[in-house]
């Protein structure tokens, strides 16, 4: 069947305009049912493509807004979505993990041995925690010092540790070097944990040990921390000795080049890389991420495999759910055009990330991106962060809009 299609594509692209597509639907396999993969599956299916979505979990637990769960402001159930609506739309769901990819034969093998063939593959496995990048930290260590960088039991564990901590305790968060999932995420997390501490355990302190000298929305966060939390939050950057080089999980200790920091609650946000299946497919480079073509999202290292979301790199777009969703739609259009034998149009993408600093106070960063010199580059003159020194009403409005964003995007992806 896929051979027939390939022959057709080769002989006559024109004969494969929309009506022909309806007769012999092209097959796309999507790996990963997160913000990127689930969106791509839905938009490709609406294009008349036959889509199989490969995702091992029956439920998706959203990282966006999970920092509010840590602060006791939300319940994890409000973060949890199913694949029912996606299945009802006519997408086949294989509740398995992809274990092997043969790019030459265009075949994906699943955990149970099932083999799926495809005309094109969309890969959206998100991140893997790069345990090799931080001595002392691994799966077992994360049950003592949680990362909570994949929402679910890790989120619950960190919440429980915060609840159990006595007033006057020290919370330490370590943040990795770029690039990593959700650049403003560690600082939103620090803010909301500080909110919990201020309202429940006001004698406590929060220290951020950072492997960078600068971070997303830094001046806005710093100003807000001072205004709202006084000197509760301390941040140590790379040049101040903030880079964590090792953790001793049984003792809750963060080791830096300058010494050791003992925590009552230690949250390790380790270095990251693309989900392992991307490496198995041969799509990752030495950085551990997948370079992509900025128009089609096709992996630069493997043909017919398109990579979207956190696993992809190539330009200024941050690893966010907003970006994953926007990339997925542009990728779906490009894949559908390629399957018809058309030239994909150049996309323009948007990113918007809100960070909550406290319940009615949010700040945002936005960007517009377009292909330039093989990358998805920032469109000059657009984007940027919320204005400094804005009145409380502006921060409250952004918190309100953040709620709206979460409702809209989760409706589009899972609703």
């Amino acid at each position: 069947m896929s051979l027939t299609r390939r022959t057709l594509l080769a002989t006559s692209a024109a004969a494969l305009a929309a009506p022909a597509l309806a007769q012999a639907p092209a097959k796309v396999v999507v790996i990963g049912g997160g913000f990127a993969g689930a969106t791509a599956a839905r938009f490709l299916q609406r294009e008349g493509v036959s889509v199989t979505l490969v995702e091992p979990n029956a439920q998706y637990i959203s990282c966006p807004f999970s920092n509010a769960v840590l602060a006791g402001l939300r319940d994890l159930s409000q973060q949890t979505f199913t694949y029912k609506a996606i299945a009802a739309q006519g997408i086949t769901i294989a509740q398995q993990a992809a274990t092997q990819i043969d790019a030459q034969a265009r075949r994906v093998t699943l955990t149970d041995g099932t083999v799926l063939t495809y005309d094109r593959l969309v890969m959206a496995p998100g991140i893997d925690l790069n345990f090799a990048g931080l001595p002392g930290y691994d799966e077992a260590a994360s049950t003592l010092m949680p990362h909570a960088w994949k929402a679910g039991p890790q989120t619950t564990l960190l919440r429980q540790q915060l609840e159990a901590m006595p007033d006057g305790g020290a919370v330490i968060i370590s943040a990795p070097a770029n690039p990593f999932r959700c650049p403003p995420g560690p600082y939103e997390r620090a803010s909301l944990i500080a909110w919990y501490l201020k309202t429940n355990k006001p004698k406590s302190k929060l220290l951020i040990l950072d492997a960078k000298d600068a971070f997303s929305k830094q001046s806005l966060f710093t100003a807000a921390w001072k205004e709202i939390y006084g000197d509760m939050i301390e941040w140590i950057g790379l040049s101040g000795g903030g880079k964590v080089t090792e953790v001793k999980a049984r003792e809750n200790i963060f080791v830096t080049e300058f010494g050791e920091h003992k925590a009552d609650v230690g949250n390790v946000i380790p270095p990251q890389r693309a989900g392992r299946i991307a490496t198995i497919a041969g799509a990752t480079d030495q950085t551990g991420w997948c370079p992509i073509d900025p128009v089609t999202f096709e992996a630069k290292l493997v043909p017919n495999i398109h990579v979207i979301g956190d696993a992809a790199v190539g330009g200024g777009m941050p690893k966010s759910a907003f970006a994953a969703n926007a990339q997925a739609k542009a990728c779906a259009y490009a894949v559908s055009a390629l399957l018809r034998g058309d030239n994909p149009a150049e996309p323009k993408l948007i990113n918007t990330c809100y960070s909550l600093v406290k319940p009615d106070y949010a700040i945002s960063v936005a960007g517009v991106y377009a292909p330039a010199k093989g990358l998805l580059a920032d469109v000059q003159g657009a984007g940027g962060v919320s204005v400094a020194n804005a009145p409380a009403s502006v921060r409250a409005a952004e918190a309100h809009y953040a709620d709206g964003w979460f409702k809209t995007i989760t409706q589009e992806v899972f609703g």
Binding site: A18, K329, K348, A382
Partner: protein
């Protein structure tokens, strides 16, 4: 409006050809969906209302927390194209 109606006619007969979506248009739907939330749905707006709102955000004539930063990334021509797509094929499902 009449012209828009004509444009919408043939498009809605065939399956929605989202692959012809003008640059950037589909990303709007990440915040502005079918239902009204804390953010407005674009489904109830006309193409000219979307276009003039974007123009006003771009020029700064209309104040915004964030849309001014987004609108500056789109030329008037791109804005017109995406507004027309959003009221026809691009209606949030």
């Amino acid at each position: 409006m009449a012209l828009l109606f004509c444009l919408a006619g043939p498009a809605s007969a065939a399956p929605p050809d989202v692959s012809k979506a003008p640059a950037g248009a589909s990303a709007c739907l990440g915040c502005h969906g079918a239902s009204e939330t804390e953010l407005p749905s674009l489904n109830k707006l006309s193409a000219s209302e979307i276009e003039s709102a974007m123009d006003a955000f771009r020029s700064g004539a209309r104040e915004a927390t964030l849309m001014n930063r987004i609108a500056k990334g789109f030329t008037p021509d791109e804005t017109r194209a995406l507004a027309q797509w959003l009221v026809t094929q691009g209606r949030a499902p």
